[in-house]
Symmetry: C2
Subunit: 703 residues, 2 copies
């Protein structure tokens, strides 16, 4: 039987699982080794088979009348030579006869007994977000108690499969820790790759469990195979990238905007949107739509978008949910590119049908819909504030998106207080249509955007996201705050959005595989967003700490290790060069402790050396507030030195931790304004953002 | 031989390790089971012994002439019955004769072959900071690759030993995960306890390794024993607690202070100290000491402290290191209680002798010395700013100490910008005399201090610290930022202070055992310090999230899990009670999502219900900035409700995360001023500080 036939038969019989022989047959087709076996009808045949397979072997009765083989004395394990097999054969037949004299016996199965080497698990599951996913872990306690397992999208390349072997915590074990023989990495990677190919080729295979797989230096054998089948997951329909780009470009750079439900009355959403568009400085045409007003805020109003005598790129909806469908029909007929669906009262309040209805209308007309249930969106290069929140105008390199309105408000407040330079802030709300993939596709080619930060609770199309993210991260960092990280969190996400609770380990592994920088929390996402666009890309892994406070140096070292950064092992000549600038009781090495009472020149000399020596790739500065080098003197000095060296081509990330009285806050602000990432009262944040930059640079293949 | 005799013999022979029989003998004395064994001189005797010990057994030749037993064919493993033992006996003798016909043979050792069950490691080491420490871990890969091991001070109680079994990550394994038989917890705990007793009783035992120990349901046997010996660690001399308290009280509440090196000249440290004492509002007497001035800042100056015609409690040193020794002699002769040794130029610059000299002088006179190499200290209840930094006057409940001056400055800046209420800020610098133990002893009984936060890079006397901390944490939280957490960090600490690099896992386990709340970073320590004194102690584990922003709710849930908090499983009646206040599409359960557009009354009703229902023990609030409930309305409302309920006896910790535009910053400030911990733009911080409060409450035995 072919695999197709096996699956069709099982599906036709309404089975959810394949039998063990079916499973082994499929493995055979895909070159996945299972224990050798054969059917013997005489004792001599059993001995010959056992000799071919290699000892030890297992003997099992094959009889349609004996279901519980062990009860019938029909199984013997670990027979070690011809003699034992021959007598075992006779024994089993005798046992069977004693058990059921009427039983018809087809023969005795002789099976190779595998074991020894390393016990691992290789499998595949169908994830609700990502579809077919392969899993790999060490067997036994490690995977079952410590959950030491890793996931990848299926199908996958042999290199990706090899990478999985290193992604478990106990990776060292497979390499032969404690004098054990190493497992064949090639054999394991091949088996993972083949499982990935299998579930890729046959989407009706819902789950594969090769458990245990025994892996030695020469190969790997799947001792037990379990295959579950079911409905293949529905294919996601995808809009071609060029089409998305065309749609998104009309939405982010509209020549004209209609405000459905524009109002002159303060406090109304339709009034806030109008004011923000006008006060934000948007230079395109604005068409207030209101059946009862002749003009609104000095602009001629129209009863319907159909009445607007010009092309309309974007329609911002500021009307109650109940009135949306007919208005959206008109918007569709008008050929509008984007419907910004601010109204709530759709799926998030249980009105799933209402949401389905507007999705259908938008799709029928080719209108891309943002939302519903959003605050709107900002795009600063166009001075565009299509939102009921307050305008925001600090232009800069980061585009932020949020699934939740509350988080969107936090983004806005944080941006304003830190003067974060922003290209876009976008609410995606219920994500009934436009999602992160669409936005990534636009931000990828948007020269104003140098980093993307996304808050998300779920992904509509996990694979679409991974595909888009992989493309984008080659050019700019993508930061993701995935809410619902924990089991409890996932439960909350479920109750909030109706999204299926994803297993965070799957998300984590696959987002990392996509090259995304995952932020552990909201504040981290905001700080990464603020800092990453300011930092040049490091050209290598060598990080050097230069500190005026020894105490900060120790904490900065701790933070570097936490952030996965490599403290450079300073070569002797460089050590001597640093020593020339610092007091004899200062500590060279790394951290370089210039000691606390030093004048600005010591900071300047050491930082300049750090920037000019090509073996150093990034600097972490620890400043200690003293009378000799006050905070603003330090800030101006460092900003100047970094600027001068950048102009000379010495372009490296520099981050600083400032310890001191409140003047250090002003100094940090000055440094940020001059492109140097600097934080007061914390040694962790500056290092964490540098670590995030490095994670991106590594994922982008730039290191 | 007694243990004493074994150790004396080994020490006399200059050995660093005991022999295996010596090790087993010692185990026997302490009731630590090792495999049974005996010496046989005939085959019959070997068989009888094997039958007594139980099969399988190991046979080993015993001959002074045969060192490499295996090479001589003198070892047989796994003999399973009398026959095998008898023939094995003969075989070994024959092998030995063939190997060396001249060898004299004492007999053949018959040893029980142990194995099976769980393989664990039990040991003890001599830690440079904490002295004798016991270790426990699962054997094999788990301890060697994943470093899954835990430490405790030795000796320890049986309960503490039982606790160790649960402190490893793979604890579940011992309980019989995956259908395996569980290990006897009592037997393992007993063995740990006995190893602890052994190294406690015999400090010359430097290291014990029972590895592997095989543990089954009925007991545990140490299959291999290795004992290393060496110099016993030096006993630390400790000042009695009452004496410390008397000394520290004179230092923190001095009736008079002399400033050695007081100066009228701006920019001099002796001038800053004078100004800070006077401007800070210190009400005791101040005596400027300066050989050349008649008066300084309006106060009569003295040539020497000897000339002061009053008692002096504290002398603040503001003179160069070289002039310290004679001045300290005078201070000692004067009967001063505390020398605040601001000058640097001692051990931190390599001047170890100079530091030893002043330690000796101070000790000889019974003067307690703070520093050297410090910024001084603050004690706000006495309006005391004995420092060259700027005064600080926001009185409150937290006492902070720092080993590093830079970190001290960060404490000061953070305090000022957040208006953190402080009782004391103390620099300990080189810790040549006064250390954290002394300070804890004072803060323990100081009613002005409700929490203690300490930055430290090392501990002079780890056990002294643990003893003091255990006492203090029963009454108030002790927060510790231990710098040099990581391997790299520890290296930096080494270069900075000359402190021995401690293994962070030992620190971590033992600090936790002491009930200390460890802060992962500087900013965390500062935020814990700021928030913990404001929060009442929770009375149970049930945490409830009430949020206006569903998105924040998910992130707050994630943060709760990260912080080790328990999201309450809301009983049906309580769920109904909450539902009565929230819109039908809001989500009850936990988080309670009141939805975004709600008026103040919804926040008020749900928060009040959370405060009054006795089954709820702590609240986490998520606020979403809307026009309906603006930030300051929310802040005033919550502060009011919390205050009202506190007055009615509903005293619970309440923390809040505010998502919104910049007005939320003012709202957070207002909430903090009114005793409600609140942070803008972060869902992590408010939950992290609540988690820290819970960690303390659990450690203090209050939950």
């Amino acid at each position: 039987m072919t695999i197709r036939e096996i699956l069709d038969k099982a599906l036709a019989e309404g089975r959810a699982a394949l039998t063990a022989p079916e499973g082994r047959r499929i493995c055979q087709e895909y070159g996945i080794a299972t224990p050798g076996e054969g059917l013997a009808t005489t004792a001599d045949e059993a001995v010959r088979l056992a000799e071919e397979l290699g000892f030890p072997v297992v003997l099992k009765i094959v009889s349609p009348d004996i279901l519980h083989k062990t009860d019938a004395g029909g199984v013997l394990v670990g027979l070690r030579n011809a003699e034992e097999v021959a007598s075992g054969y006779a024994q089993i037949l005798a046992n069977a006869t004693a058990y059921d004299p009427e039983a018809s016996v087809d023969g005795i199965q002789v099976q190779q007994l595998v074991g020894g080497g390393h016990e691992v698990i290789i499998g595949a599951v169908t994830d609700p977000t990502f579809g077919k996913v392969v899993a790999f872990g060490l067997g036994g306690v490690l995977v079952e108690v410590l959950k030491d397992v890793t996931f990848r999208l299926a199908p996958l390349s042999g290199d990706d499969a090899l990478g999985m072997l290193d992604d478990i915590r106990a990776a060292e074990v497979l390499r032969g820790a404690r004098g054990a023989e190493p497992a064949s990495r090639e054999a394991l990677a091949q088996m993972i790759e083949r499982v990935g190919a299998l579930v890729g080729d046959f989407p009706e295979i819902a789950e594969v469990d090769l458990n245990p797989v025994f892996a030695g230096p020469d190969g790997a054998v799947a001792a037990d195979v379990r295959i579950l089948i079911g409905e293949p997951p529905r294919e996601k329909t995808r809009i071609p990238r060029e089409k998305i780009l065309e749609q998104m470009t009309r939405i982010f750079k509209p020549r004209s905007i209609a405000v459905i439900g524009a109002s002159a009355e303060q406090g109304k959403i339709g009034n806030s949107v109008m004011r923000n568009l006008i006060n934000g400085g948007y230079q395109g045409q604005i068409f207030p739509i209101n059946p009862k007003a002749a003009d609104i805020m000095g602009l001629p109003a129209y009863k319907s978008v159909a009445d607007v005598p010009y092309d309309v790129d974007v329609a911002v909806f500021a009307i109650p949910a109940a009135f949306v469908p007919p208005a959206l029909e008109q918007v569709g007929e008008k050929g509008v590119a984007g419907a910004i669906m601010i109204p709530s009262g759709f799926a998030e309040t249980g009105n799933v049908e209402g949401q389905a209805e507007i999705v259908e209308i938008a799709a029928r007309h080719g209108v891309r819909m943002l939302g519903p249930n959003i605050y709107g969106y900002y795009y600063t290069p166009e001075n565009l504030c299509a939102t009921f929140c307050t305008p925001y105008d600090v232009k800069g390199g980061v585009a932020l998106t949020s699934q939740s309105g509350g988080i969107g408000m936090a983004i806005l407040g944080f941006s304003r207080t830190t003067k974060m330079g922003v290209s876009a802030i976008v609410g995606v709300g219920n994500k009934a249509d436009v999602d992160e993939d669409d936005l990534l596709t636009f931000f990828e080619q948007d020269d104003h955007t140098r980093a993307v930060a996304m808050h998300l609770e779920d992904l509509k199309d996990g694979r679409g996201f991974v595909e888009a993210a992989r493309r984008v991260v080659r050019h700019k960092p993508v930061i993701v705050l995935k809410a619902g990280r924990t089991a409890m969190g996932a439960r909350a996400a479920g109750s909030h959005t109706g999204a299926l609770a994803g297993d965070d380990k799957v998300y984590d592994d696959i987002l990392r595989q996509a090259g995304v920088v995952r932020a552990p929390g909201l504040n981290d996402m905001l700080e990464y967003a603020r800092s990453l666009p300011l930092m040049p890309t490091p050209q290598g892994e060598n990080v050097v700490i230069i500190t005026g406070a020894g105490g900060s140096g120790v904490l900065l070292s701790d933070a570097c290790v936490d952030a996965g950064l490599t403290l450079m092992d300073i070569p002797d000549d460089l050590d001597q060069a640093f020593r020339a600038y610092i007091p004899p009781f200062g500590a060279a090495g790394n951290p370089i402790d210039i000691t606390g009472g030093e004048p600005p020149s010591t900071y300047e000399n050491t930082v300049r050396l750090g920037l000019t020596d090509p073996r150093i790739h990034a600097l972490v500065l620890g400043y200690w507030h003293t009378i000799v080098t006050p905070p603003m003197v330090f800030a101006e000095l460092i900003a100047g030195v970094v600027q001068e060296e950048r102009e000379k081509g010495n372009v490296k990330p520099v981050v600083a931790s400032l310890a001191g009285d409140t003047e250090v806050e002003e100094a940090c602000e000055y440094l940020f304004d001059h492109g140097v990432v600097a934080y007061p009262y914390t040694t962790e944040k500056p290092v964490a953002v540098l670590g995030a930059k490095y994670r991106w640079a590594r994922a982008a293949g730039l290191l």
